[in-house]
């Protein structure tokens, strides 16, 4: 057992937030440094965990949860403060910490006022997101998830911004985002309580333990209904068509750090929950809904990619692009086989680092020029060559360039999808997203960065000082996991195996039952 490393990772930002409370608000640099140091501690601990788990659990084939902590909390209700990581949650935890740390050093011009409150909320937000990924108890998972919603809302409406291309205020964006998250979570809560009651009836003792819940064979009817409710909640969060429209508005309205965290990790809670809770506990229900998810997934990819072509606001391009990329995740989920699920999970990680870099660069340019309206910009590589490099790397990762993080996940997802005969046509349609993705990002790159110098932007400063951190850290991860994909894929594979096995088992059981009838 030993040192409760996961709690330490969780607490580090919270301690940072507590320290910041006592720092005078004029000292915004110190507050930022505190936020940077505490998130850095979490990041380093997570990287160590990742390496230890990779060498001792993945390479040896042991797998399963490690670094577990179990403290009974509300014993009567069966709530346990139960943490742990496996090959599925560790990449997500790593992603959270990478983005958490780098988002502290992102730039938004609006954060110059009330910096103290901003960083305190940011640290709480980061902790909340981390908690969802390492909770092994459904109740704790949900608790952390709710912790996330409040800071997001406050941060968007205080430090957010409106758009020039769409009649959207930051208040509208923040409200829309929050209501979506809350409606989603209402369905989740209902599904969760129902499942809890049903499980308590079967087991005799109440429990929120995900692993225990997954051992129960819920009736088919029950699984279909409850998975449906859960899937609604989680896919709202994952911005699945047609419940996606909060996402571009929300990201566009949010300050840079929030866009990074939201697009990078927060929406991945949807995918994480869908797989970890939905598929794992309710495999039969999941199989029932898979065709519908596949159809919506294709809509996500193609519909959002086509809308990207019509965007003139940088943040909307990246926002809709992230909706489009979530389609790849959903296709992987819908394939319900191990290759597709590996692809889905790896895609979540890949999209996380890449969209964080993209939002960070877009946010930087917005903060420097005070404009995100693409026709106003142009030739910015003259004034900000470093930001241009970051921007191009993000764009290329978004376009799925091999050698960068997103190629192998996308390829794997498609292999998984093509393995299912019923998914082949949807997968072929979704593959056009690869071409469309290149079209919209390269258009934006060309129109924002390249072309003749515009003198009106001669006053803007290139990335310097601590603003280098997001560029360097994110590019290192984007390239490292792109060149050595097994660092990610082995890990993910080890985490997804039990879930995939559960799906196979459920299918064969269903087939046998069908046979006996």
């Amino acid at each position: 057992m030993g040192f409760p490393v996961l709690t330490a990772i969780l607490l580090s930002p919270i301690i940072g937030a507590l320290i910041s409370v006592f720092i005078p608000k004029e000292e915004s640099k110190i507050i930022k440094a505190v936020a940077g140091i505490t998130t850095f501690i979490s990041l380093v601990l997570t990287i160590i965990l990742y390496i230890v788990y990779y060498t001792q659990y993945v390479k040896t084939g042991i797998g399963g949860f490690a670094f577990t902590e179990d403290i009974p909390w509300v014993a009567d209700l069966g709530v346990i403060y139960s943490l742990g990581v496996d090959g599925f949650s560790l990449p997500m935890l790593l992603l959270t910490n990478i983005i958490g740390f780098t988002s502290v050093f992102s730039r938004s011009w609006s954060v110059e006022k009330r910096a103290k409150e901003f960083y305190i909320l940011l640290l709480i937000l980061i902790t909340g997101v981390m908690g969802t990924f390492i909770a092994r108890d459904l109740f704790i998972f949900f608790l952390f998830y709710e912790v996330v919603v409040i800071p997001i809302y406050i941060m968007v409406i205080i430090w957010g911004s409106g758009s020039k291309t769409k009649d959207v205020t930051k208040e509208y964006a923040g409200m829309k985002l929050t209501i979506y998250l809350l409606i989603g979570s209402a369905f989740l809560l209902a599904a969760m309580i129902w499942m809890y009651k049903e499980a308590a009836g079967i087991l005799g003792t109440p429990t929120f333990d995900i692993a225990k819940l997954a051992t129960i064979d819920f009736s088919t009817q029950f699984q279909i209904v409850v998975f449906g409710m859960m899937a609604f909640g989680f896919t709202c969060l994952l911005s699945m068509f047609p419940f996606h429209s909060w996402s571009p508005d929300g990201y566009a309205g949010a300050p840079t750090a929030v866009s990074m965290i939201h697009a990078g990790v927060l929406k991945k809670i949807g995918g994480y929950g869908l797989i970890r809770i939905g598929l794992f506990i309710l495999p039969v229900g999941a199989k029932f809904w898979a065709p519908l998810i596949a159809i919506f997934a294709v809509a996500n990819v193609v519909y959002a990619a086509l809308i990207c072509l019509a965007q003139k606001d940088m943040k909307y391009v990246v926002g809709y692009s992230s909706v489009s990329h979530m389609g790849f995740v959903l296709i992987g989920v819908a394939s319900m086989n191990i290759i597709g699920l590996n692809g889905a999970v790896a895609n979540m990680f890949a999209h996380g680092v890449m969209s964080a870099l993209f939002f960070s660069m877009v946010g930087y340019i917005y903060a420097a020029t005070k404009s995100r309206y693409i026709p106003d910009l142009g030739g910015l590589a003259h004034q900000m060559p470093v930001a241009a490099v970051g921007f191009v790397v993000a764009a290329m990762a978004s376009a799925g360039l091999p050698g960068l993080v997103s190629f192998v996940p996308e390829f794997t997802t498609f292999v998984g999808a093509f393995k299912e005969p019923s998914l082949q046509i949807p997968a072929i349609i979704a593959l056009t997203g690869v071409v469309l993705g290149a079209v919209y990002v390269l258009r934006m790159v060309a129109n924002v960065l390249f072309g003749p110098r515009k003198e009106e932007w001669d006053h803007v400063e290139d990335i310097k000082g601590s603003y280098w951190i997001p560029v360097v850290v994110l590019i290192v991860f984007i390239v490292a996991f792109g060149v050595f994909p097994s660092l990610l894929m082995d890990m993910v594979d080890s985490g997804v195996q039990p879930i995939a096995a559960k799906l196979v088992q459920a299918t064969t059981a269903a087939a046998q039952m069908g046979g006996s009838i």
């Binding site: 965007q311 290329m396 498609f414 071409v435």
Partner: protein, 650 residues
Amino acid sequence: MIDFALHNAWLIPLLPAIAFLLIFLVFRPLPKVSAFIGITAIFLSFVLAVHVGIGVIQAGDQFVEHPLKQVVTWFEMSGLKIEMGVQIDPTSAMMLFMVSLVALMVNIYSLGYMHGDQAFSRFYAFLALFAMSMLGLVIAPNLLQMFVFWELVGLCSYLLIGFWWHKYSAREAAKKAFITTRTGDFGLLLGILLLQINFGTLDLMTLGEMIPNFQEYTNLSVGGLTAIAAILFLGPIGKSGQFPLHVWLPDAMEGPTPVSALIHAATMVVAGVYLVGRSLILFQTVPGAMAFVAFMGGFTALFAATIAITQTEMKKILAYSTVSQLGYMMLALGAGSLTGGMFHLFTHAFFKSLMFLGAGSVLHAMNNDADIWKYGGLKKKMPITYWTFLIGCLAIAGIFPFAGFFSKDEILLVVKEASHGAQFAGLYTLLFWMATITAALTAFYMFRMFFICFHGEPRDKSFHPHEAPFSMAFPLVVLSIFSIFGGFIGAPWVEHGFGYYVRLGEYHHPSVDWAIIIVSTILALGSIFLAYWIYGKKAVSHEALAQKFAPLYKISFNKYYIDEIYLWLIHNVLDGLGRALWWFDITVVDGIINGIGNAAKILGSILRRVQTGKLQHYALVLFAGVVILVLIMSFADTSSASLSLLGGVR
């Protein structure tokens, strides 16, 4: 050393990769050091490649059937294993030699050509990145590794076409190149996925064994496999500039000329030909796919040649010529001859990069003014460029004994043989004549350019052309030597020539078909003479000719208006769809959400009125409630449910 090179061939792409990192991350502020690192790395790769080549030749035909393979697992999961590694056989050894040699020459040439450019270091960094990617593609033992490096060379092409990104035209050309090739890559990736799903592997050797007996391993029909091959071929169509995705290649000339020579003439654009060559078994198994490849190639060859005859910029002419020659190579592959396709790829790399570098030398001398009608009489001012360019022109025209003569005749020969085959004989006969006409057109447009640029009197006196510096002249000389003698390795009188090593199936000693030799030589010489007649001797006014054939001239000059059609489609259909969907998203999807939100608001504003805050209102409601309850209780049946609802109060 040979043994070392054979077993450490992975160093060949790795050295430029290290050079890229060093230049990009460390030495960017020092242009001379950057160039030194870049040239050293590619030189070492070249040395290794030469030794690999010698090793392969010494081994005889041992490597043809049993390539030397070294792989490591790239990533793996249950049911999917992807490797990265090196496959050395004569085909890849030939490519390693050719790519590293041309890359080395271009690196040296760029010392002079890019001298003084603001981003000199960045140029060398990108050249190194490109060399890494191209060499990695060449040695790929499986299709996914090929795809990975295929995309990376595409990235380098994008970065180098847009090297002068501050120019509007360069940035648009770079974007166009990437997107157009990406469109083809959609097919390539889909084809790769379908092969992976059906055969469970992407390894070239394993696929080569499985595909001929595909019915044993898969449920695919002949039609299914033909479809996969045709889909896969979309990738080469994009990358190798075949019709209808050729549109990016002429625009790619916006990049610096050394880039055009290296990427858009000798190496990257032949990746498509190489890929088809590597997976030729797939195409050969299904004759329909072969015919498709042959037809696309033959058609592109003729199509691009008809455009090249009216263009007015050296690099544009050379670009269309490249498109045309790539079509030639595809045609050879489509006729079933790996030898023919690869041989022409090999010789073409030298004479075409030679001509591009020559054109660069001319552009350099003419202050980058691209219009050939301003040139003239450059022969006296630039003798080295003149003579080397002439060698290039003779080689591409297919004049004995220059390199192109052997490889072009080889292609005509194999197409003619295919036209006597069992299937699609009529098609191959047609293609044979198309190829012959193309050969004549090629000689004509090349010498048209040659006479306009180098002969006669200077048309624009404001230029002061000068011969290229040594760093630029040296590569011209080296490449012209290969353009003269490069074809001998495949000459009929060589015992174990090119075809002995680079082949698929049994070795056929190249035979001599005098009919083809005589016809093609007469046509080439005739075309050269015609070009001389019009543009050299000016016996016929070319303007009058253009007038006389005005409609044809216009169509050719405007490249069959294909660019315009594509632009219209993109701006109206694709973007239109995007705008329509955005409108849908805002009005319908958001509209429903906002509608629900507003409904809740309205409901709230109605219910809000209940909360008046006035005590008498609440008292009134309380009183009314009591009255209603009493009424219910007094009228209700005792056995009815309403009473139990009230808790049985009486």
